[in-house]
Amino acid sequence: MRPSQLLSLLLSLLLLPGLGGAAPSSVEASHVTVSLVAEHAAVAPGGATTLGLHFDLEPGWHIYWHNPGESGEPPKVKAWRLPPGAEAGPLGWPVPKRVPMGPIMNYGYEGEVVLTAPLTVGPGWPAEATVEADVTWLVCKEDCIPGKATLGLTLPAADAPQPDARWAPVFAAAREATPAEALATLARDGEGLRVTLPTLDAPADAPIDFLPAVEGVVSPSAPVTVERPAEGGVALGLTLAPTAPDTLDALPGLVVVGQGSDRRALRVNAVPADAAPVDGARAPPPPSDAPTSVAWAVLLAFLGGLILNLMPCVFPVLSLKILGFVQQSGEQAAKIRAHGWAFAGGVLVSFWALGGALVALRAGGDRLGWGFQLQSPLFVAVLALMVFALGLALSGLFEVGLALTSVGGSKRFEGLGGSFATGVLATVVATPCTAPFMGPALGYGLTQPPAAAMAVFSGLGFGMAFPYLVLSHAPALLRRLPRPGPWMETFKQAMAFPLFATAVWLLDVFARQAGADAAFRLGLAFVGVAFAAWLWGRGQRTGKVGAARGVVVAAALGVSAWGALTDLDEARPATAAGDGFWQPWSPDAVAAERRAGRAVFVNFTAAWCISCQVNERVVFRDDDVRAAFRDADAVALKADWTHRDATIADALAEHGREGVPLYLYYPPDPAAPVQVLPPVLTPAMVRDALAGR
C-alpha cells in the first residue's frame, strides 16, 4: 500500500460520524476510490432522487456483482442514515462482466461503476440535510482487500429538484442501460439447465452469455452453450452447481448479447414452460447436445431394444417370428432377408409412430413419459382385443397371415405384409417393458430435439429387430433351428396361451383404469370377437367366405368395439387400496422420512408395466424382503403411474427416466446418495440394498 493511500484510509476511518465533522463523500481506499453521489444537487421535499455508490477502480482491480460468482463478496450498504421520513431502496446493479481468476469465475466490475439506490425524500426534508451510508466492499486483483467507510453527502432542500451537472447524466445513462425484460423458459436437462428465449433475435455471430442473479444454482465456471434452433430464438445450456436445490421454480438472471459497445443485456426470470405466460408459451425449442451424447443414447437404446426381446411381454409375439423363420429355413436366402427387413421395418415404423406421437404431445406441453400410451384405457382396450384375437388365430379358430404357413408359395415375396405386421405387433406389446438400458436412453432422447429423439427410438427399434436381421442374413444360423414339421402347429397353438394371459392382464389394467363396469363391457367384447373369429374361421374351412358372412363378422366386431370402447371415463380414480405395506409416494413424504432419519424405498410402478408386476410378485411379496424392510426400519413408498401424473413424470425425469419401473433406495443417512436399483430385481438385491451392502 502506498503511503498516500494509507493516509487517506486512516483519515477516512478517523472521520466517522459523531467524531466532529460530517463523513466525507469520497474515500480513496486501496486500489479504489469510493464516493457517495446523488442525481440531484438539491431535492424537493416530498419528491424523490437517486443515490449512487461510485467506485473508481485502479486498472486490473475489480469489485463484485450482487452474485459474486465462485469467490469474492459484493459491496454492501450496512446502514443508511437519512433524515426522518426518507427511505432508501435496494441497490441497483449495472450489468456486470465475467472476471475469471484462473479456473475460478467471478462476476464483477472493472474501471468505473455506479450502484444506484432510489431515495424517497420525505415531506419534512430539512433545509441542510445529510445522508450517510456505512459501506463495505471487497476489491481484488490476484489478492483481495476488504474495505469499509462511512460516506456522507449534503442534500439541501429546494423548491424544485436541481440536477447535479456532474452526476445527472451518469444516472440517466444508468437508467437508459437498465436491461429490458424478456420471456424465458426453464427446463432441467440431466445435470444441467436449459434456458430458452423463444423470442430473442440475436445476430448469428454475436456471443451470448447468461449471468445468474442467484448464487449456488448455476456453476459460474462452466461454459454456457448457445443453440439457435431453426424455429428461432435462442436456447442456452447451463450447468447446475452442486449446491443447486432439487427443484427449481425459477431462475432469474441476465442474458448478455454481443460484446464491446454492442453489448446489450436482457433481464429474465426463466420459469418452467408450463408456468410461463401464455403469450410466450410457444413450444420450447430444445437444443441439441454434443453428438457423442446422442450416439451414446442411441447405442444404449440399441442395447435396450436387444434386451426387450427377452421381456415377458414380448415373447409370445416373437414366437410367431421364430416360427416364421423355421418355416422359411428351406427357402431362398433373398426371401428370408426380405422377411427380416420387413419385420424390422414394422418394428421401426411402430417405434417412430409412438416416438413421434410422444415428441409431438410433449412439445404441446403434456408431461408424458414412455408407456404413456398404456395410460389411455382406450389404447389398452384395443390392445387387449387385438391380443385376444391373435390368440384365437394361433389356437386355430381362424387363419391369418396365410403366407406364414404356406410353404413354397409361388410369389417370391408374399407375406411380407405379415412380417411387417408382426413387427408392429411386437412393438406395441413391448412398450410396457422398459428394458434396463432403455430408461436412461429414452430419458435422454426425449430432452433432445425431435431429430435426436427419433434417432434414439430408431436405435431401440433396430436393437429389437437386430437378432432377426442377423438370423435372416445368416443362413448357417437358421439351419441350426429345428426342422419344420407338424410340431409347429402344436407349438403355435400352445403359444396362444401366453397371449390369452396377456389379454387377461390387459383386462386387469383396463379395470383399474376405467372401473368394473367398463371391464365387464370389455369382457363381453372378448365374447363378440371370439364369435366373429369362429364365424370367419368356419367360413374359411368350408370355403364359404361370402359377403353375408363378412357383414355379420363386421357387425359382431363393430358392436364389440362400440360396447367396449365408448363411454370411457379416463379420470376415474383407481382403487388404490394397498395391502398396508406400501405408503403413497410424494416428494414431501420422502423428504419428511429422510429428515426423520429413516431409510426410504420408492417403487415407481404401474399396473400396465409387466416387469413392475413381476418384481411386485417375485420380490416385494417375498417374506424375506418384507422382513428386511422391517429390520432396516425402511419406509416403503409406492408411486403408481397407472394414470397420468405429472409429479411422478417429473420425479422419473429427475432420475433420467421416462418410464417405469424405477426403484430408489435412500439410506438412513441423509447425506448418503440415493441408490438406483436395476429395473429387473431379485429379492437378494433389495435385501442387500436395505442392509447397506
Partner: protein
C-alpha cells in the same frame, strides 16, 4: 458388409464404451477423490491413510482477508483444537501457486502454524493445485468433511455469513462445527452442501 459380420464389431464397440466411465470429483455423498500430498515436514499423506477416521480439509491462504478473519478471531484454531482433540484429522491445504498470494515453502508454512497457534494435524503443500482441483476447491477458506468410510459428507463454507468481518463470526451458523457435531453423533448433516466464500484459490 453383411450384418452378421457387423456383430463382432458392434460388440467390441459396446465393450469399449462400457469401460469409458466418467472421472470423479468431490461430491457430497460420493467417495472422496483420492489425494497424495506432502506436508510441511516432508511427510506423505494419502486419503487411504485416513480410512476409519473423520477428516477435515481446509483450504488455506494466510494472505487472504477471509482466512485472516477466521485466524485473527482464533475461530479456525478453536475449531482445529476442538475436533483434533476428539480424534478428527484436520489437514490445511495450501493450493497457492509459487509467486502467488499464500504460497508457502515448508518453513513458511511451519512459521505460520506457530505464529497463528494453529492446530491442524498437518499442512499439505499443493503448489500445483492438484489436490485443490481434485476437490474443486474454489475459495479460501473452503471446507470439506470426509467420514470414516471415505465419503464426502460436507462441502462448502466454514459458516453462513459471507464477509471478511470478524464480528460476523458470532452471528453466523457455524456450518463445519455443526456438521462435525452431527456427523460424529451419527446424525444427519444439514446443510451438507453450501457455497464457499472467500478469496479465489490462487491456482497456477
Amino acid at each position: 458388409m453383411r450384418l452378421s459380420k457387423l456383430l463382432p464389431f458392434a460388440l467390441a464397440l459396446v465393450g469399449t464404451l462400457a469401460v469409458a466411465l466418467p472421472a470423479s470429483a468431490a461430491e457430497v455423498g460420493k467417495p472422496a477423490p483420492g489425494f497424495d500430498g506432502t506436508d510441511s515436514h516432508g511427510k506423505k499423506h494419502t486419503l487411504a491413510d485416513y480410512k476409519g477416521k473423520w477428516l477435515v480439509l481446509e483450504w488455506l491462504n494466510h494472505g487472504c482477508p477471509y482466512v485472516r478473519k477466521h485466524y485473527d478471531a482464533k475461530n479456525m484454531q478453536a475449531l482445529q483444537a476442538k475436533w483434533t482433540d476428539k480424534g478428527v484429522a484436520w489437514l490445511s491445504v495450501i493450493s497457492s501457486a509459487e509467486g502467488k498470494q499464500g504460497y508457502s515453502t515448508p518453513d513458511k508454512a511451519n512459521e505460520d502454524v506457530k505464529a497463528n497457534a494453529a492446530k491442524p494435524t498437518a499442512v499439505l503443500l499443493d503448489p500445483k493445485g492438484v489436490i485443490g482441483k481434485a476437490y474443486d476447491a474454489k475459495t479460501t477458506p473452503h471446507m470439506v468433511i470426509i467420514n470414516p468410510e471415505g465419503v464426502v459428507v460436507y462441502d462448502g463454507a466454514i459458516d453462513s455469513i459471507r464477509s471478511a468481518d470478524q464480528d460476523d463470526i458470532a452471528k453466523a451458523t457455524p456450518y463445519v462445527d455443526k456438521a462435525l457435531e452431527a456427523g460424529l453423533a451419527g446424525k444427519a448433516i444439514d446443510p451438507n452442501q453450501t457455497t464457499p466464500y472467500g478469496c479465489s484459490v490462487k491456482y497456477p
